[in-house]
Symmetry: C2
Subunit: 570 residues, 2 copies
């Protein structure tokens, strides 16, 4: 491609709303342009990178035995009502009515469509297992689209769906897809980690893993063990049980006692004003969700993990109760709520259940209770892991390593769905004995456009992008220093012809621009190798620039060609 024809205007500065490096650089280097909030056009350079990613994904999906198909974006709303996700997705679903006033949803995902399709296509176990995938556009009405391609409202996804007759089959399929995902992300040159995850709105009954590109701008926190290979999204990371399994003898403990704590509503105030250590406090938080109001108890130095609570309750959404709800349920304002005498379901974190005694709100304004004994002064019917794991805590799996935290960008997510959709949408098959059973499903997503942004975020320097060779829009960038110089023109054109014939994707900067502009644009675009055709071309020499190592070397043109074709750079 000749750069004089390429639609790729570089910008000196990124628009102010671009806050992350990938967003700034993809805009500045002419890869993407915003059409509306969270909605982007891919310019030719961006489209080329997307196509490279798509090709890698296709190859690995095909190798894993998945079949490509293509499902519509417009999906009848009834399907989403039948799966009960119409409400769960709420405002994130883009909706429209057609001219006959039939309601449609623009698919953020395709479980409903594929499951209802399979209901009609496959009736016998003999036609299973089947795994299908597609690469296409998804829609999600994000409240706050941000970071360019990271969280868009219209974006590219690869989504796959598997259908097995049993859980063992799903385990095999899941494992095959897991490995395919590893190969895909490795081939894309990503620094990533597979972590245990929460299923969220996709749901399902089995395990689920997220693939996280490690990056400081990631929205997710990952807990990683220093000793074993445990890694989990903090939403889901379990807390080590270890020291919490203590046996307590409550018979000799003093009775709970009320004391005056005027204006003291928080653990911080108890610590600062009354010198009470947070680990002696039992926090009582009132939540609502799943059609009920309930209390969650965690130790004063711990945080409630709402995902764990939500999953325990079986609700799709939970939230801290508003002040009116708190007063109605606890007869006191928040800050003085306590579990003693509270007529709500109590969810106690394991660390609370392990306390000999603690300090709680008294259920009365300006008073707290001391010597409150769990199991004696309030019930311990619902004890589980309800708190967020802490950095430095013990690994819940090996019990030896220490957890440290990383930030990650979710680029893939795989789920063992089980029968969640097949039961609701009636996708059953007859087994060998003639019995009808719902098919066992899995689903597997990769954010294609987000992956492009994650690779850009991980591969840049002060000058611009640095594409891994597998994703680079072009492998080689020829920079002709002076387009008026006939010797340079002859050399640059010959080199361009030669590389193109050898199948090396090459961009020739044949623009009538100053050398400085060409160097800057080339570094910004991040093509792995630049070959500078300047004055030395008269002697058969070029400058060979490796973008990643930022090294340069003057070598023979023939040597430059053989370096490029032997693929030692980028």
């Amino acid at each position: 491609m000749r750069q004089s024809n390429l639609l790729a205007t570089t910008l000196r500065e990124a628009p102010a709303e671009a806050e992350t490096v990938n967003h700034q650089l993809l805009l500045r280097a002419g890869y993407i342009r915003q059409l509306a909030a969270g909605i982007y056009t891919y310019l030719p350079l961006g489209r080329r990178v997307l196509r490279k990613i798509e090709a890698i994904v296709r190859e690995e999906m095909d190798a894993a035995g998945a079949q490509e198909m293509l499902m519509p974006s417009m999906q009848p709303a009834e399907l989403w009502k039948a799966s009960e996700r119409y409400e769960v997705y709420g405002k994130e679903l883009m909706k429209l009515n057609d001219r006959h006033d039939r309601e449609f949803v623009l698919g953020p995902t395709h479980e409903e469509v594929i499951t209802s399709l399979m209901r009609g296509e496959v009736s016998s176990y003999r036609k299973l297992p089947v795994t299908v995938y597609q690469i296409g556009t998804k829609f999600r009405d994000e409240r706050r689209p941000r970071s360019g391609l990271m969280r868009g409202r219209e974006f590219l996804m690869k989504d796959a769906y598997s259908f097995d007759t049993g859980w063992e089959g799903l385990d095999d399929t899941y494992s095959r897809m897991y490995k395919a995902y590893q190969r895909i992300f490795e081939r894309c040159g990503l620094v990533y980690r597979a972590v245990q995850a929460d299923a969220g709105a996709i749901g399902g009954e089995g395990e689920t893993h997220e693939f996280m590109a490690i990056s400081g701008i990631g929205e997710d926190t990952i807990a990683v063990c220093s000793a074993c290979d445990y890694a989990a999204n903090l939403e889901q990371a379990e807390v080590h049980t270890g020291a919490e399994a203590v046996q307590r003898n409550v018979s000799n403990l003093p009775a709970a006692e009320k004391f005056h704590t005027p204006g003291i509503r928080t653990v911080e105030q108890l610590e600062q004003e009354l010198r009470i250590a947070p680990e002696q406090v039992i926090k009582t938080l009132i939540y609502q969700g799943g059609g009920q109001v309930f209390a969650v108890l965690v130790r004063g130095d711990h945080e409630v993990n709402e995902v764990k609570v939500r999953n325990y309750i079986g609700a799709s959404e939970i939230a801290l109760a508003d002040s009116g709800t708190v007063r109605a349920a606890a007869s006191v304002e928040s800050g003085f709520v306590g579990p003693v005498g509270l007529s709500l379901t109590l969810l106690a974190d394991r660390a609370v259940a392990a306390m000999t005694s603690g300090i709680t709100g008294a259920g009365e304004r300006d008073f707290h209770l001391r010597d409150v004994v769990p199991g004696r002064d309030f019930t311990l019917e619902h004890v589980a892991d309800f708190r967020t794991a802490e950095e430095g805590g013990t690994c819940p799996v090996c019990g030896e390593g220490v957890l440290h935290f990383e930030q990650g960008i979710e680029i893939g997510h795989i789920f063992k769905l089980g029968t969640k959709y097949s039961e609701k949408l009636g996708a059953t098959v007859l087994d060998a004995a003639g019995q009808s059973n719902p098919v066992i499903m899995g689903c597997y997503g990769i954010g294609i456009s987000r992956l492009m942004a994650a690779v850009a975020e991980q591969n840049s320097d002060g000058q611009g992008l640095i594409w891994p060779a597998a994703l680079a829009p072009y492998r080689v960038h020829i920079l002709q220093m002076s387009v008026q110089d006939e010797v340079q023109t002859a050399a640059a054109e010959a080199l361009y012809e030669q590389l193109s014939k050898l199948g090396v994707e090459t961009l020739l900067d044949d623009r009538d621009e100053r050398a400085g502009v060409k160097f800057k644009d080339s570094a910004l675009m991040g093509i792995p190798v630049a070959i500078v055709v300047g004055k030395a071309a008269a002697g058969g020499k070029v400058e060979y620039l490796d973008r990643r190592s930022d090294s340069k070397e003057v070598i023979d043109i023939t040597e430059a060609v053989s370096r490029v074709t032997s693929g030692q750079n980028g």
Copy 2:
């Protein structure tokens, strides 16, 4: 691919709503499934055909110097209001509001998006010409989606847009795209014709061509000359002027005379009841559109061509006036309307202007006028070609050949837009003299999914589809007659391995089904070559079936392989 894993259920009968051959066969052979009216899922076989078409389109677009990009489906409604197409498209535009109540359009085409993008990207003539294209999903809320993929509400398109500094540049670009289209349709194995066309809602100032797949189910009628290469959509086909340029001497003609015609309202009644030849009659039709009411005059044996009238008036839509409007405008009901004394703009077809005299409605119930002389009894201010060309008529270009009609499916359409969009959306560039000018645009569409349907429609027989080799989902279909037979299994697997290694896309029917089912499914799916591995496999022989010629031959396995790899079939 092993057919036992392939998601491709064949159906004995197509659903009743499938009326065309392509729709029936694509459903029956397991290529597509309907999700909602005009909205289809592409099963793996269908997706493979689409990918073949996409690859051909990409290669030819790239070879023609076009750059691939990708634009969003969700487009701010303001853009469509700025181009004044929001109203023109009307109910065919799919519209939705996001959570912030901003209105979006789901793009049926992308002139607005690309033109507003170019406004920001390209400011100097030095960056032109540029041609970009994309392959993606389009949305159009058809009132009556039909014929499966022929007229869908969500469909796949390749759309391209060119930007030049002048009309000469556009002429070059247009010609390059025209040739690329020819190569694409030839490679797809289509019987097609490029025809002069009307620009419709896309608009523009220059010429426009449609590429028509010739087919009896086509919605468009094409007029084709028997002698020269003239071919045009009947909407647009000109009428030969020839004999109509007569000179008339009106001085000796009798005055117009009223005569009683009780209950006679139509040309047919005049002919049958009063023995008046239709070519002696002048029909007067009242239309409304473009904010006015006007009359169109054509000879009794001719039909009004509303596209020609619409373009002459400069309206986006015209329609026959309703009876109330007719009575208000002509003081009489339709059937007796005539041009004499009518105070409306009169659009007279050239054939009317060429009449010495004629019979018209009298503008009075139950009366007509005879000896009405055009130019004497009513004005001839607006004389042009307002009628539909007729089969058997003289070619308007060579004046020698005779027009015959064909039916066509529009699979591509190319337009010289000129400045229609660049002026409205402010896409200008500075020329060499520093003057700002709107860019000169062209646009170029191919219906990818419709093309698949057109090829299917043109390539089938009573047994099923017959894909051209370039589009076939697989090149070879191995049919193993008995999966219990170990000799057959060994031979079929070895052949499958060998062909796959040679890069021949092969489908192996390894299902435990009867031979008859396998033959029927194979013929239905339309893979160019079937190789039957049956009892003769023990002797190294297979049956070689050519789908198109429906011929079969028993040959050595090695010979079968060499025939396939030398590509002499399909």
